[in-house]
């Protein structure tokens, strides 16, 4: 197919705009990465832009030695893996029946769940519920309240609804029960959606901050986000300046940058693996009929 002049201009502008947008995401990341690999003096005097100056692993070695980042990393991993698995199982279990026409009162149940998207208890009441269930200081306080994200469940429900009913019927004639239909037919056909939702949940759990801060008292159980936030926010707080040694406690920028890099690498590593499903998956949920 020949490309017309107008289209050429269009593509040209398109590429420029997209490149700029891509750069606006990549450059800050490069900057943080370079800061984490530069010498301390170069960082303080602002000589680092997108390439390390006085290359050194000093920031990383002080990060691993001087802070509990390794423990926090494994905590984050634990929160994310178990949380995602639990959420996926329950989301599937909720979405599948709600997507089947023969299910009685599915509209009512759907509305009941959507209700929770609009209304929720405030911070303190929710905390009291968690506390009375004995979940404070346990990761269950992170996993259980957010077990099913209604939005994700709706996405999955519409994905299931799109599968032709005939496929179900064929499977049933061949001898599948309800669980057989789900596990042998519906789920394999919905892989893109599963991958997408797993990523949504995974990123959500990896980034969980407020819930960890509020429900977890034991600092040995803190995850990366809370730890890194603590380091980043340590830079300015005037009342502490009344105290000499407090200033010395400020985490230098290079080490903070190293912590940020350690925190985002796992998610960065997962994206490419799931990306082929990702685009397809979001589309699947959005178009119905």
């Amino acid at each position: 197919m020949r490309v017309s002049r107008g289209e050429k201009i269009f593509y040209f502008i398109n590429y420029i705009v997209l490149t700029l947008i891509a750069l606006s995401c990549i450059l800050p990341l490069l900057n943080v990465a370079s800061l984490s690999l530069s010498g301390a003096a170069a960082v303080a005097s602002g000589r680092v832009s997108i390439w390390p100056v006085d290359f050194s692993f000093f920031s990383y070695s002080s990060l691993f030695k001087g802070t509990p980042i390794i423990r926090a990393f494994f905590n984050s991993l634990q929160i994310t893996l178990i949380g995602t698995a639990l959420s996926m199982i329950t989301t599937i279990m909720a979405a599948y029946p709600l997507s089947r026409r023969q299910f009685y009162a599915r509209r009512f149940f759907t509305m009941a769940m959507v209700f929770t998207m609009i209304f929720n208890g405030g911070l303190i009441p929710t905390y009291l519920v968690i506390q009375s269930l004995g979940l404070v200081n346990s990761y269950a306080a992170l996993w259980l309240p957010a077990l099913v994200s209604t939005y994700n469940m709706l996405l999955m429900r519409s994905a299931f609804e799109q599968l032709p009913r005939e496929v179900d019927e064929a499977a049933k004639i061949d001898g599948c029960g309800e669980l057989g239909v789900l596990f042998r037919v519906v789920l394999p056909l919905s892989k893109p959606m599963l991958a997408t939702l797993a990523l949504f949940y995974g990123v959500g759990f990896w980034n969980s901050f407020m819930s960890v801060l509020i429900y977890i008292n034991d600092t040995a159980k803190f995850n990366m986000t809370v730890l890194v936030q603590n380091m980043i926010r340590s830079t300015s707080m005037i009342q502490d300046f009344s105290d000499p040694t407090m200033l010395a406690n400020i985490t230098p920028e290079g080490i903070r940058s190293a912590a940020v890099i350690v925190m985002i690498i796992p998610i960065l590593a997962v994206y490419p693996l799931l990306q082929k499903y990702f685009v397809k998956g979001v589309m699947l949920g959005s178009i119905k009929g």
Partner: protein, 563 residues
């Protein structure tokens, strides 16, 4: 089906549960109000057999406990406290930068520790307003030895710790008074261009102009600025202090003046600076002053004000960077130039710092007071600062603590400072004073000490402090609604003045001043002023003003001279 039914059942159950909890919460609150009064009366007599109390305490978590040293709530220092202290203490970590929300949930759910350490005056005031705190007057009177002695030595500790109902709710520590902010000029530039130290605002402008235009760094490029940024970062404080441009000022007649005091004058100078091109034209985009600071540290800015505080961290970080990147740079601390409204000093350190309050629901107040006494003892605080004698530090022949092994110190002691929030270091005597904390074998620290001494010499005098009535930690808390109004009108007026700095002929100073007055009138100014005036008429004698701070400074220096 049945699975879903039971799920629904759970939802219903959970809803019911949370409703009943809400009710429970309300009744709890009611009870707590009563409990408050009961508990303030001391339990039984102290003469009964000494029993080891069990209490709980907060500790800030800054995420800086080294790998392998345990956690901030369970480590060698918490064990040390439990072995050497008067009570068994259980610690709850409070993330330093989210302390407010964490304390809120802990208090609301009734699981807050007995003693709460918090630097934030606003947060402590909020706890008092919510009736979460226990008054301490009688308890200290009956059970305390150390803190009572400190209260007698420094009555200001009591003055500041008293809340609006006239009772003592807060305990704290005494810090050394020294200047918080210092104004630096590049002495080497002055000499090179044959200039004198500027002593008035006009001279400041002239020197800044020379620094900008006459290539003081001699690289043949016009790439220097006279002055740091005008709005963000370290230097804007300079203009505030120079002109005493504050919202709540104390007049010579002892009356408060509330509003945009002297801000017109300070903005006028900023405008002149901007128009003369002696500051970075892009100062508005340098949102946290990083760019300006980097320019200074790269030797591109000649006049710069910075919160160097005790100069220890400043020596290790900023000064160290400057001495590496610009070896020829020589800093000089200069007095704030005289202005049309007078001459002032920059802000000083807060000597009377409140750091802890006691939970109204605490079960064993006596044990808490004993624990406070334990923390107030100099030898306790010294341990959190220097470590254990013979293990982390030795005393030299002069009695000065010397760290034995820097790496071991960093790994085991450096992060324990938050346990020492009740440590009044000056009680140590000579080696409690800041000028003994420098290690003169390190060149940057030696230079840091010189600048610190200059700063003290320059700014610790009878001139008034240009930070209004008093240190921000001693300012009262406006009621919520007024406080919101106040911060809105402050932002609005600040924006107007910023426009005036860069406005040129399109936006004159007169116009700006008119807009400011209108904004102040409409944005609740009179209401805010009335509140402050009423507060001042009632609390006048309980406020530690800058004059009071200066008295403490003199007392501290006299004690030092007597050593």
């Amino acid at each position: 089906m049945s699975r879903l039914e039971s799920k629904w059942l759970k939802v219903a159950l959970a809803a019911g549960l949370s409703a009943s909890l809400l009710v429970g919460c309300a009744t709890n609150d009611g009870k707590q109000g009563n409990g408050n009064q009961n508990q303030s009366t001391p339990k039984e007599s102290a003469s009964t057999v000494e029993k080891r109390g069990k209490i709980s305490s907060t500790i800030y978590d800054r995420g800086n406990v080294p790998n392998g040293m345990g956690t901030i709530e369970d480590n060698m220092w918490t064990k040390w406290i439990n072995e050497n202290g008067p009570a068994d203490v259980k610690f709850t970590a409070i993330p330093r930068w989210e302390s407010q929300s964490k304390l809120n949930v802990l208090l609301a759910s009734g699981s807050a520790p007995d003693i709460i350490f918090e630097f934030g005056t606003g947060i402590r005031n909020q706890l008092f307003d919510q009736k979460q705190l226990m008054p301490l007057d009688d308890l200290i009177e009956q059970h305390s030895v150390e803190y009572k002695a400190l209260l007698e030595k420094y009555p200001q500790l009591k003055q500041v710790g008293i809340k609006s109902d006239g009772k003592l709710y807060e305990v704290g520590r005494i810090n050394e008074v020294y200047p918080l902010v210092s104004l630096f000029i590049r002495e080497d530039w002055l000499e090179k261009l044959n200039l004198e130290v500027p002593t008035t605002e006009e001279e400041l402008l002239a020197v800044a102009k020379a620094f900008t235009e006459q290539d003081p760094d001699g690289n043949g490029v016009k790439d220097t600025y006279g002055l740091g940024g005008l709005k963000f970062g370290d230097t804007p404080g300079l203009f505030r202090y120079m002109f005493n441009a504050n919202w709540v000022n104390l007049g010579e007649d002892g009356e408060l003046s509330v509003g945009p005091n002297n801000m017109k004058e300070s903005t006028e100078l900023k405008r002149k600076m901007f128009e003369a091109g002696v500051v970075d034209k892009d100062f508005l985009t340098d949102k946290d002053g990083t760019k300006s600071k980097q320019d200074f540290l790269n030797g591109k800015i000649g006049i710069y004000a910075i919160m160097a505080s005790d100069f220890i961290s400043f020596s290790a970080k900023e000064l160290d960077t400057l001495m590496q990147t610009v070896p020829e740079a020589r800093l000089k601390v200069i007095p704030l130039p005289k202005t049309s409204v007078g001459q002032y000093n920059p802000a000083w350190n807060n000597p009377v710092q409140m750091t802890a309050v006691v939970n109204a629901r605490a079960k064993d107040p006596e044990a808490i007071i004993k624990y406070i006494d334990f923390l107030v003892k100099p030898e306790t605080g010294r341990t959190f600062r220097n470590g254990i004698e013979g293990v982390h530090y030795n005393l030299d022949s002069d009695g000065k603590p010397v760290i034995i092994d820097a790496d071991k110190f960093t790994n085991e002691v450096s992060w324990a400072a938050d346990f020492a929030m009740l440590y009044s270091r000056l009680e140590e005597g000579k080696y409690g004073y800041n000028d003994t904390q420098f290690n003169e074998e390190i060149p940057t620290q030696k230079e840091g000490l010189r600048l610190f001494q200059d700063s003290v010499k320059t700014y610790m005098n009878e001139l008034p402090v240009g930070e209004g009535l008093t240190h921000s930690e001693h300012m009262p808390q406006l009621p919520k609604e007024l406080s919101l109004k106040f911060s809105n009108v402050q932002t609005a007026i600040d924006d107007i003045y910023t426009r005036a700095i860069i406005g040129g002929s399109n936006y004159t100073m007169e116009q700006a001043q008119q807009d400011v007055e209108k904004e102040w009138q409409q944005g609740g100014g009179p209401e805010i002023e009335a509140w402050y005036q009423e507060w001042w008429s009632k609390e006048k004698d309980n406020v530690l003003t800058w004059e009071g701070v200066y008295e403490i400074y003199k007392q501290q220096q006299a004690a030092k001279a007597a050593l």
